[in-house]
Symmetry: C2
Subunit: 238 residues, 2 copies
């Protein structure tokens, strides 16, 4: 029987790549998408499209993180716009306290009910080192807690797989392309308009990833940051 | 400035005792009560009464554990009735997968937003050893995960206080009485009727605790288990 895994799918590039990676390892994958009071539902729509594309089951879990508070991603504060250099410096304003901790707990609980002790998470500590619950040390100790604190874990152990952990955005883009992830279906922008804004931290990091990988983002943008525009112009000249 | 702590308060005897204990240690305590799709709201009403009694703030967090499934406490399965001897044998049917893991994660997230790195939990591994996320090893490793995975934890560490960890129900009753916990306001019964049923696991364990402590439960019951009836009869003869 194929081993079961759950894979956290936000609808972004990283989590879509992790879903493809888990499938490529032969797991019978169920995607888990959190409906957590995001500013916009665009991510959730993307996650559904990705599940349809791969024909995987999707479990949606509703947990309103606005109850907890403390973040620009779920509150009315404007999404910060700032240069690359400041991204990854300290803990960003968009930090949802313990979000990965909460998501991993709920994923573990659900995994247990379907007989799975494997969770895939698209966390990454290189480009966005400001989130303490994205760090390898956190996942290692949380995995240990799940091995001790769940029924299935006490019987078979528990695994938290964080395959993108030490990859740069450029490496993630390369992996996504190698796995043929439908990147045009993914959504990374913090704003939920028709096209990606091209100005928020998440858009900038994503486009920097494509530049580093030497390839072009198939997603449509309202405007490109100047360096990506220059990059495209040079690329087209060739 | 008084140090802040959060204390998980279900409305039951154990969590009420822990709240009183945290206050007795001098903490500025906020009670956290989870509205998790319990079969009945009687517990929540009790928790409110306890907070009013102590004049502490109460934060309610809504997380529907029925989405996760897998337990008699949140599903339509009948609440099991069984003799003492079977209670604590294996993992009970009322096990909500990873419930303490989920609750502790949400509590940690909330604690962080109010500047607290201390969580009190009324878990207990003596009378109810069937739940893996009630065991000391679990809390120790989870505390480590929180120290690594939260912003406040990376700065000041994180503490999960489980003062009832190794106490029997009888010892908990004694502690509650010493701390003058208003036990008549607490609710332990798995059924949500006007009086406690006296037949479910939780009622039986609670009454056994009072017998072991040599005292009398101020709560009203529909009926008493035979041994508690005998105990009361003997007590009244004296």
């Amino acid at each position: 029987m194929t081993e079961k895994a759950v894979s956290l799918l936000s609808g972004g590039m990283d989590s879509a790549t992790v879903l493809a990676f888990a499938r490529s390892m032969g797991y019978d994958v169920t995607a888990i998408t959190f409906d957590y009071g995001q500013r916009h539902s665009k991510e959730i729509v993307s996650s559904e499209a990705i599940c349809r594309y791969y024909g995987v089951r999707q479990k949606r879990i509703k947990i309103d993180l606005r109850q907890i508070g403390g973040s620009a991603l779920t509150s009315e504060k404007p999404v910060p716009e700032r240069p690359y250099q400041e991204i990854g410096q300290g803990i960003p304003e968009t930090y949802v306290p313990s979000r990965n901790i909460i998501f991993a707990s709920l994923a573990a609980a659900y995994a247990e009910t379907i007989g799975s002790n494997v969770i895939f998470i698209g966390a990454n500590s290189v480009d966005y080192s400001g989130y303490p619950d994205c760090r390898p040390e956190f996942f290692t100790s949380f995995q240990k807690a799940l091995a001790l604190g769940t029924k299935i874990g006490t019987e078979r152990g528990f695994e938290i797989e964080v395959p993108l952990q030490s990859m740069s955005k450029g490496e993630i883009v390369k992996l996504a392309e190698r796995l043929k992830v439908p990147l045009e279906l993914t959504w990374s922008c913090y704003n939920g308009r028709e096209k990606a804004c091209g100005a928020c931290d998440s858009c900038k990091l994503r486009l920097k990833g494509f530049m580093d990988a030497g390839s072009v983002d198939p997603l449509r943008y309202e405007r490109y940051p100047p360096d990506y525009r220059d990059y495209l112009a040079k690329k087209n000249k060739k």
